[in-house]
Each structure stands twice: as C-alpha cells, then as structure tokens.
C-alpha cells in the first residue's frame, strides 16, 4: 500500500503548528504556568466557596466542561464539599510536583485537568471570570509534550543515570501547544479590540470611553497615578489609540515571529498600566505573551555566536562526520566532527 500523498496544505499545516522546540522552552512554560495556576488556586477564594457549596442551589448550573470532567466522580451533582476539598488538596500537591518536574508525565495532566475541573465548578455558580482560563487550557495542552525533559527533577534524575536529552536540542513537532496558546491569545486581543470598535469607535478614539473606565477604577482603588492620568484628556486620546493598535495588531505576531517580542512587551506595558493606574490585575496575558517567545533558541543562537571565530566564514560547507553520541530516543547529543583546520 502506498503512503498517502502529502500536499502543500498538509505541509503548511505542519510548518505552522508543529515547529520544533527545545525542552527548555517547554520547561519554562511548565514552570511559569504551573506557578500561576497554583497561585490562583490559593488566592481566588475557592476554599471559601467550597465550604459554602450547596449542590442543590438554583444558581448552580454546571458548565459543559464540568459535566465532562466530573464523569469519574459521578457527574457534577455528585460533587460534595468534602470531595472538592480532597480534590483541591490533591491538585495543589500535583501542582507543586509539576512545578518541580517530578513525575511530570503523570502529575502535569492531573494538575491541568484538576484545575480545569475546580475552576469550572467555581464558575458554575454564576459569575465567571476570564482571568486564568487561557493559562489553564495551555497547561493542559502542555501535558502532551516533553516539558519535563529540562529544568526538572526528572531531568536531573535522568542525567544522573546518564540517559538525558540535552535541554537545548529542539524536539521535532513539540511546539504546537505554544502555537495554540499564541493563536488563542491573538484571538482574545482581537476580540477585545474589535468589540471596542464595534460598540463605539468614535467614543473610543475620542478618549472619553477610556477616561470613564480609568477614572472609575482609579477613584475606586485610589491609585495616585490613575488619579493624575484621568485629568489629562490628551493622554487618554493617545492611550486609547495605542491600545486599539496593540489589540488589533497582536495577531500579526503569529507571522512576524522575529518581532513577537514587541507585542510581548506591549502586553506587559498594557497590563502593568492597568494594574498601577486602575487596580485591575490581569497578569495571565503578559505571562503567556512573554513565555511563548522563543527564549531557548535565542539563548542557543547567542551561545553559538559566542563560539564562532570572528574570521570564520558565515556559511560553512557540510562535512562528513562520525555520527556522534545519541540518546536512547536517537537524538544526537554530540558530534564527533574533528575541528576544522585553519583556512580550510
């Protein structure tokens, strides 16, 4: 039987989603996202909600994702305060282990699914928030990758046994969760920007809509920078335009990968500004935007440049070398090429 033909659309799909990525990059996301989910679990008042939980309350309308995730426990109406308390404790333990990278292949899916379950339960009683949802979904996707192969106790144990994968060597196709998170983040910003334009572009560009919200939150939080800023209408006009430009153009960072850091810094500035001036804290988006940047490949390139002689030709002819040492998965660890002779 012949192999199925691989067309250009399949190639485009593969090259867009399945880029190679270094385990160190995945590990950075594992650590940062797990830390944020753990922090959110312990500071968002879920413990208090569990204590006051009444499964028969009319406002408890389980979200579809909760209905799916709670099947092993008998469905969303079988969840009790005692079970949720035990789940929360288990999830927090799994989260700490995932953060440290111990038994990552087992504890990270457990932690990711557990946080989605507990959070969807909390949001099934009325008010929902979008503060952490993308991080939690991203963590679930990350569980399908070798993100415990670097910067983890698992990697340390493997190194001690002599069968580790170097953290800097890219793993073929493993970058798809980062790409998905990037796309979801771009869609979220696009949604925020387009909604502002659709509901009142004129009022937004006049600066008054932003001035209203900034004043409201600055007065509520008594933020000194916010109280100063709200009196400067010219800055509001400039800020409103800059914000729309940032939100609607973030999607370009999907294709202009080399300049993605500009939008990541923009995200950091926008949300730090909202936090300082309005008391509106939304750290998950800048965290995602910063962690999906290709940090490890940048560091690798820098390291490689540091070892290149200034007189060396930028393009070197390929050489026949010995295969070098390979790890159990067949990934080359070292090359046994002899050093080039000067002037060769």
């Amino acid at each position: 039987m012949s192999a199925p033909a691989v067309g250009p659309s399949s190639n485009r799909w593969t090259s867009f989603w399945f880029a190679p990525v270094a385990p160190a990059q995945l590990a950075l996301c594992r650590i940062a996202w797990s830390a944020m989910c753990l922090f959110h679990l312990s500071t968002s008042g879920i413990q208090e909600r569990i204590e006051a939980f009444d499964a028969a309350a009319p406002e408890y309308v389980p979200l579809p994702i909760l209905s799916i995730l709670s099947v092993p426990f008998g469905g969303p109406h079988a969840l009790s305060a005692a079970l949720l308390r035990a789940l929360l404790y288990t999830i927090q333990c799994a989260g700490i282990l995932a953060l440290a990278g111990l038994g990552t292949r087992f504890v990270l899916p457990l932690f990711a699914l557990g946080t989605l379950l507990v959070q969807s339960w909390a949001y099934s009683s009325g008010v929902i928030s979008h503060d952490i949802s993308l991080v939690q979904w991203g963590l679930f996707l990350l569980a399908f990758t070798p993100c415990g192969a670097a910067w983890s106790l698992d990697a340390w144990r493997a190194r001690a046994k002599g069968n580790s994968t170097p953290a800097g060597l890219p793993v073929s196709g493993a970058g798809w969760p980062l790409r998905v998170v990037h796309v979801l983040l771009a869609l979220a910003y696009l949604s925020a920007g387009m909604t502002k334009l659709a509901r009142g572009a004129e009022e937004w560009f006049s600066g008054y809509t932003l001035q209203y919200y900034l004043s409201f939150h600055a007065l509520r939080s008594q933020s000194e920078p916010g109280l100063w800023l709200m009196r400067h209408h010219g800055l509001m006009v400039a800020g409103a335009s800059a914000l729309i430009l940032f939100e609607t153009s973030f999607v370009l960072s999907l294709w202009v990968r080399r300049l993605a850091w500009i939008w990541a810094i923009g995200s950091l500035l926008v949300h730090t500004g909202a936090s300082v001036c309005m008391g509106v804290h939304f750290p998950s988006f800048p965290l995602l935007a910063l962690t999906i940047l290709p940090w490890s490949s940048r560091l690798e390139r820098k390291r490689a440049r540091a070892f290149v002689s200034p007189r060396a030709s930028p393009v070197e002819a390929p050489r026949e070398c010995a295969p070098g040492i390979r790890d159990p998965a067949g990934v080359p660890v070292t090359s046994e090429c002899p050093p080039r002779a000067p002037g060769s």
Binding site: F18, L63, F144, G173, S191, T195, K196, E203, Y212, F216
Partner: protein, 151 residues
C-alpha cells in the same frame, strides 16, 4: 513526533481554535432580538468556558455621562454608622429618570441587605452620589440635583 500523537494534537488544535472562534464571534449565540435564530442560541458565554469572549471596557462613553451609585450604611440606635458598600446605579433605558433608577436600586438593596440586619437594632441608610464625565475625568457635577451634568 509519532503520527498518532500528531493526529491527537491536530484534533486538540482544531477544538481549541474552533471553540475560541465560536466564543468571540458569538456565532452560536445570536441576540435575543433575532427571534428567528433563537434555535441557534446553544453556546452563549459562559457555556464554552474556558473559551470566552473579551468585551471588557467596550461600552462607549461620552462627555456628560454619569457614574451614579448608592452608598449603603446601617445606623445603630446609638448613631454609629457601619459602611455596607457602594452600589452602582444604572438606568434601565435612557428614558428612565435617575430618581427612578436610584429608587429601584435602593429597593433592591433593602431586599438584599435587610435580612442581614434583622434582630439587630439597626436601620438602613442610603446616600445617593454621582459624578459626571468631563475632559478632567469623572468629576463632581456643576450643581446639586443635576445628575446628567446639565443644570
């Protein structure tokens, strides 16, 4: 990466992006005013969580817009005041008077806060407050009793 793993990943990619697109475009949540499409209202926010839309800070505002609220307090027999929070007042339509909107919110707060004070010798007190949007931000209105900023 094995081809089976890649297939699973492809399914997750399609689900993630597809649900996020549905959430932000509201294709499966047409407005109630479009009665003929009511059968399509199957996935309104937050049914698709963790995929949600992001409409924050998008309701438009213009100079003269009012931010109105009620400060609720309970007063004991001895005259001690206990703050019970500030509660925003919104008109149900531009035609509704601010007086009616304040009264509606105070009635709601009486029903909400009243039971918590039962058995204690306290009375509920409300203070109506508002600010008006100007080029200097939200500021006190030019005169008393002119919540829309126009004397």
């Amino acid at each position: 990466m094995h081809s089976r793993t890649r297939r699973v990943a492809s399914v997750l990619i399609v689900i993630s992006v597809g649900l996020q697109v549905l959430a932000i475009t509201r294709l499966l949540c047409p407005p109630r005013s479009m009665g003929a499409l009511s059968w399509l209202r199957v996935a309104c926010t937050p049914r698709l969580w963790p995929f949600v839309d992001y409409p924050m800070f998008s309701d438009p505002h213009a100079p003269g817009d009012v931010l109105a609220w009620v400060d609720a307090r309970s007063e004991s027999v001895g005259g001690t005041l206990e703050v019970l929070g500030s509660h925003e007042v919104r008109r149900s339509s531009p035609a509704e008077s601010w007086d009616a909107a304040y009264a509606r919110q105070e009635e709601r707060l009486r029903a909400l806060l009243g039971p918590t004070l039962q058995g204690r010798a306290h009375s509920l007190r409300f203070e109506r407050r508002h600010l008006v949007l100007s080029a200097d931000g939200l500021v006190a209105p030019a005169c008393d009793g002119c919540p829309d900023g126009k004397p």
